[in-house]
Structure formats: structure tokens, C-alpha cells
């Protein structure tokens, strides 16, 4: 088992590298960082442009640039931005912001998603099932940026109704906030609710749909009938035998759910003014910055693969059939 997981990890590392290279190469090919410089009015002297080109290693072949970048990256130096800031200095802060959002969104999403899905399956064709199904569909059909905008709208109404700033929708803390630990916590939470809700809603809808169908599959299974035949009530059989088995396929979904989350997270950060990795990516592309793009890509690839690997681990934990292989 451990060997199986180790093997997967090696494979994933290779994929990570290739993916990062791909993004690096694509960015290096399509970006034109000195274009903006040239477009300045009056145009800067040729020497300035050449200096910038040399600084950004624009005239070297892309594979070589990648190897140089990677060599530094392994040692913790992800290079400098187009405007000559250190990426490594900013990186930890941005990762912290993104991870907080992602993890909270995932935990809330999976937790509520499973509960909603199971409840839907057990109460199939009742009103609550139809309602849950309908809302899942609506949320899955709403792009995250729209959902974020709508939530902002709702929060504004709420704040107006309450006559106080209950929910805040820009930034992750109030700039220059002063106060004790408790006040700081409240301030954080006020900032946290909307972005988390924005990404969690999609996750809940996504997981609940699959949990519902996994549970329905289990509802008709022979082993559930066996469990009832030996004297368990339907309810007990459902929870002890049904739910436990229906959780197994959710482990594999986890990896994909996380992928979804990353895209959604980018929008959320952007809309709510959280300076995380997603926000950085958009900024990097707007600035034609290869190093930022490659760094964020590496981060995303690592996240996707870690979630894939975790997915394998969960799967092995949940299903004895895999465990013993």
C-alpha cells in the first residue's frame, strides 16, 4: 500500500514538472513584457529596452530559461517580477491567503455536500429532494463571479437592513486594524464569510449531486438488503452500511472537486480583493510576467496533485479492497 502511494507520488512529481514547463513555455512564447515599455510615450532609449530584455533573459532559448528558473526555484528563489520585485518574498503570504480560502471552502463544501446528498437520496422524490436538486442545479449553472457579485449585493442589503457593517466584502482584514485578539478574530470572520460562501456553495452543489447518486446506488444494493435481513432497521442499515459504502466513490471525486475549486478561487479572490495566488495569476498575465505565471502554475499543479494523492489515500482508507493491494 505504502509503495503504491509512493509510486503515485513519483508519477505526480513528473507530471508537475512537465506541467510547469508547459505553462512556462506558453507564457514565454505569448507574453511580451517589453511591449509595454516600447509603447511608452516618449519611447525609452533602445539601451533601456535591451537592458530589460537581458534582465528578463528574453533572448535566451526557452528551455534554458526554464532550467535556470527551475534551478533557482528548487533553492527557494522563484525569480523576480517584470517590475523587479522578489517573487519569493511575496509568495508565502499569497499562498497563505489562498490556502485559507481553499481549505475552508473544501471542508465546508464536503461536509455540507455529503449531508445534503444523503438527505436527498433518503428522501428521494420528496419536496426537500426536489428543492436540493433544483438549488444545486442553479448554483452549478451560475458562474462564480456572478455568484460573488450576487452575494455582495445580498450582503449590502443585509448590512443596510442591520444598519451596521456585518459582512465586509473587500480584503481579508480591515487595513490598519487595531484591537485585541477577539476583535481581530471577529474582523477576520466578517471578511471571511462571503468569499468562503462563494466557493463553498459550488462545492456543496457539486458534492451533494454525486453523494446523492452514490447513495441511491447503494440504496438498491444487495448488501443493504442483507443488513436489513439480519434485523437492522432500514435507518440503521442505511447509515451503518449504506453511507459508509457510499462514501468510497467520494474519495475519487475529491481530486476533481479541488480542481474546480482552484478556478473558482481565482474569481473569488479577484472579486473580494484577496491578494492570493489566483489574483496573482491574473495580475501576472496582465503584466506579461512569465515568472509569476510559472510560479502560480507550479503551485496549482502541486495542489492538484496533492489533492489527487490525498484522494488516493482517502480511497485506500475507505475501501479495504484497495488497501490490500
Amino acid at each position: 500500500m505504502a509503495r503504491f502511494l509512493a509510486r503515485r507520488l513519483v508519477n505526480y512529481l513528473a507530471l508537475c514538472l512537465v506541467a510547469t514547463f508547459l505553462a512556462f513555455a506558453l507564457a514565454a512564447l505569448t507574453f511580451d513584457p517589453v511591449g509595454k515599455l516600447q509603447a511608452r510615450n516618449p519611447p525609452p532609449p533602445q539601451a533601456t529596452i535591451d537592458a530589460k530584455r537581458a534582465e528578463l533573459r528574453l533572448d535566451e532559448p526557452i528551455p534554458q530559461r526554464f532550467v535556470l528558473w527551475l534551478g533557482d526555484a528548487v533553492q527557494g528563489d522563484f525569480g523576480r517580477t517584470v517590475v523587479n520585485q522578489s517573487i519569493s518574498e511575496e509568495l508565502p503570504r499569497r499562498i497563505g491567503v489562498s490556502l485559507r480560502l481553499f481549505l475552508l471552502g473544501t471542508v465546508v463544501g464536503i461536509g455540507l455536500g455529503v449531508i445534503v446528498g444523503v438527505a436527498s437520496a433518503i428522501r428521494q422524490y420528496r419536496f426537500s429532494d426536489y428543492a436540493a436538486t433544483f438549488f444545486s442545479f442553479v448554483i452549478l449553472s451560475t458562474p462564480v463571479f456572478l455568484l460573488g457579485l450576487l452575494l455582495k449585493y445580498v450582503a449590502l442589503e443585509l448590512n443596510t437592513a442591520a444598519g451596521a457593517q456585518l459582512l465586509v466584502f473587500t480584503g481579508e482584514t480591515t487595513p490598519g486594524f487595531q484591537g485585541g485578539f477577539f476583535e481581530a478574530l471577529v474582523d477576520r470572520v466578517q471578511h471571511l464569510v462571503l468569499p468562503t460562501l462563494t466557493i463553498a456553495l459550488g462545492q456543496i452543489a457539486y458534492y451533494s449531486r454525486y453523494q446523492r447518486s452514490a447513495m441511491l446506488d447503494v440504496l438498491g444494493s444487495d448488501f443493504l438488503r442483507t443488513a436489513q435481513a439480519k434485523g437492522l432497521t432500514r435507518r440503521k442499515a442505511l447509515f451503518k452500511h449504506g453511507l459508509r459504502t457510499a462514501l468510497v466513490p467520494m474519495a475519487t471525486l475529491f481530486a476533481f472537486g479541488f480542481g474546480l475549486l482552484i478556478t473558482g478561487g481565482t474569481f473569488t479572490e479577484r472579486i473580494f480583493g484577496w491578494y492570493g495566488m489566483g489574483d496573482w495569476l491574473v495580475y501576472g498575465i496582465e503584466q506579461d510576467d512569465t515568472n509569476i505565471t510559472a510560479t502560480v502554475t507550479l503551485f496549482v499543479a502541486v495542489l492538484v496533485l496533492v489533492s489527487g494523492w490525498l484522494s488516493d489515500v482517502f480511497y485506500a482508507l475507505l475501501d479495504p479492497r484497495v488497501r490490500l493491494r
Partner: protein, 332 residues
């Protein structure tokens, strides 16, 4: 939706290892019920699904209206009304106007048409790539399979949003068709995986073996037996792709990585409207509302098709009792 039984388990084994996001209806292959042809049965099931039917009607109407709107709308999308800036909806500007006097209705219709067209075209491209890759990987196995699946894995590691966003600077100033191609190029992986899984089971089905033992060449077997038997899954997947592509496209356009001005899509409209969302909601609410409604319609159609095409769907399934022990194939 009807209220028939609750027993329908698909009896499929849990997918192992390689994650598989969508439950593969292995038995979507099976036709059943004596006396009625499959086509009528599918149609009957689909028509009974009120939500799916509504979705179909709504989507068709939206697309038709968006295509024909230049014929009856008072303003064109690239026309400016210098007499009305930032006006709420009125008799002459049904959805209001923008800061620079553009007609929001005309723009929204244009954007809707663009977004739906992009969704449909992308899904078409994606399904072609996916079926070729999936069927070949599954049928031939060996290094073909390993190679293709490695590419799929690689592309799945990078969210397609990210890749397209990175390439987008190259799109500046080029046609939206190029954007569609790009979307199609990164939308097929999950479908290919599902189709590969299905091909793997189909390949072991006896009618495929029978064809092989007749001496039929591989290409013929794939064309004649494998692909037609995956048709239902492909149809379902096309609808899913249409929905997800529209979401992806509008998202990219929202950030300026997608459809480029002067062209508009629902995404660019929402972005332009969202800056002052709280004071002039008509700028984005119509675009946003239509976006949600059309994707919702597509999703309902997909769900209805899944129920109609997959005989193991829980609704409206014939309750047949006993016998024929289904041999559970444990997928290694």
C-alpha cells in the same frame, strides 16, 4: 419526473485508482423492453421529464431570439444612442443603456448568441477529440493507451482556465473562432477518460469479440460497434460540455482573457456592468440572468437525457425480478 421505484442500483463496481468524476453508466449500452424500439422509448422518457423539456424549449427560444433579434430590435449592438447615457430600461431601450449610450438589449442578445455558439461549437470539437482519443486508448490498450492517458493526465493537472488564460495574450486582436478552437482543445479530457473506460468494457463485450473473431479490422469495429454503443454517453457529455464551456468562456471573458472587444459575450458584459453593479444593476443583471437561465436549461437537458438514455436510470425503470446473476467484474 415520475414517481416510480427506488431500487435501481447500477450494480457497477467502484472505480479504483484513477479518479473518474462522472459515474459511467456501463449499461447505457443495453436496450430493453420488448416490442418498443429504443428510440421511441428514449423519446417517451425524455418527454416525460418536465424540467428537461422546459430546458429544451427555453434554450431553443433563447437561441432563436438572440439570433433573430437584429431583425426586430430597435438598436444594433454597436450603435450608440447619444441621447441616452446610463438609462434604466425603457420603451426604446428595453434593457437600458450603458455609460456611452450602447443599447443593453442588443448587446445582451449579441453576447448570448456569441456565448451559446461558442458553447455548442466547443462541445462539438471536444466530443470529436474525446471519442477518437477515448476509443483508441481503450480499444488498442498498451502504449497507445498509456501515451494518450498520460497526455490526458497532464492536461488535467493544469486547469484549462489557467492554460487558456496564459495563452490569451496571443489572442488579442484575433477572431473568436481561434478562442473556440482553444477552448475545444482543452475541454475533451474528462470525456475522453470516461469514453476510454467505457471502451474498455465494450471491448470485452461478446459482440465485439464476435466481430473480432469474424476477422473484422479494428477501425471497422470501432466505427461500427464501439462508437455507436457509446452514443448515449456522448450525447449526455456534449450537453455537459456545452454548459461547462459557457461557464468557462464567460469566466475568461470576464477577466479579459476570452472574447475580445469590440466583440461581446455575456462574460464581458457582466464584467463591464459589474463595476457599478450596486447602483445600475440593469447593466449586468440581464446578462447574468440569461447566462444562468441558459446554462440551467442546458444542464436540465443533460440530466433529462441521462435519465432517458440510460436504462438504469432510477426513474421509470421496469421492475424486473430475480435471476440472471449479474457477474460483477472487478476492475483492477
Amino acid at each position: 419526473m415520475t414517481t416510480t421505484d427506488v431500487t435501481g442500483g447500477t450494480g457497477k463496481s467502484v472505480p479504483t485508482g484513477g479518479a473518474n468524476p462522472v459515474d459511467v453508466p456501463l449499461d447505457a449500452i443495453e436496450a430493453e423492453t420488448e416490442g418498443v424500439t429504443r428510440g421511441t422509448l428514449v423519446l417517451r422518457r425524455f418527454l416525460r421529464n418536465k424540467l428537461a423539456l422546459t430546458g429544451l424549449v427555453v434554450l431553443a427560444l433563447l437561441y432563436a431570439v438572440s439570433l433573430t433579434s437584429p431583425l426586430f430590435a430597435p438598436w444594433a449592438y454597436d450603435e450608440y444612442d447619444y441621447l441616452s447615457f446610463l438609462q434604466p430600461p425603457s420603451a426604446s431601450h428595453w434593457f437600458g443603456t450603458t455609460q456611452i449610450g450602447e443599447d443593453v438589449f442588443a448587446q445582451t442578445m449579441r453576447g448570448l448568441q456569441r456565448s451559446l455558439t461558442i458553447g455548442l461549437l466547443t462541445a462539438a470539437i471536444s466530443i470529436v477529440i474525446a471519442s477518437v482519443v477515448g476509443a483508441c486508448a481503450g480499444y488498442f490498450g498498451g502504449w497507445v493507451d498509456r501515451g494518450l492517458m498520460w497526455i490526458v493526465d497532464l492536461l488535467l493537472v493544469l486547469p484549462s482556465f489557467l492554460i487558456i488564460a496564459v495563452i490569451s495574450p496571443a489572442l488579442r486582436g484575433s477572431s473568436w473562432i481561434l478562442f473556440v478552437l482553444l477552448l475545444g482543445l482543452f475541454a475533451w479530457m474528462i470525456t475522453a477518460r470516461i469514453l476510454r473506460g467505457m471502451t474498455l468494457t465494450l471491448r470485452e463485450r461478446e459482440f465485439v469479440k464476435a466481430a473480432r473473431f469474424m476477422g473484422a479490422p479494428s477501425g471497422l469495429i470501432i466505427r461500427r460497434h464501439i462508437l455507436p454503443n457509446m452514443a448515449s454517453l456522448m450525447i449526455i457529455d456534449v450537453t455537459i460540455t456545452v454548459g461547462s464551456t459557457i461557464l468557462l468562456e464567460t469566466g475568461l471573458s470576464y477577466f479579459g482573457f476570452g472574447v475580445q472587444p469590440p466583440d461581446v459575450s455575456l462574460g464581458t458584459l457582466i464584467r463591464d456592468g459589474s463595476t457599478a453593479a450596486l447602483t445600475t444593476p440593469w447593466l449586468f443583471l440581464f446578462a447574468g440572468g440569461l447566462l444562468v437561465v441558459s446554462v440551467l436549461a442546458v444542464n436540465f437537458i443533460g440530466d433529462g437525457l441521462r435519465d432517458a438514455l440510460d436504462p438504469n436510470a432510477r426513474r421509470g425503470r421496469n421492475v424486473r425480478e430475480d435471476e440472471d446473476p449479474e457477474v460483477e467484474v472487478e476492475r483492477a
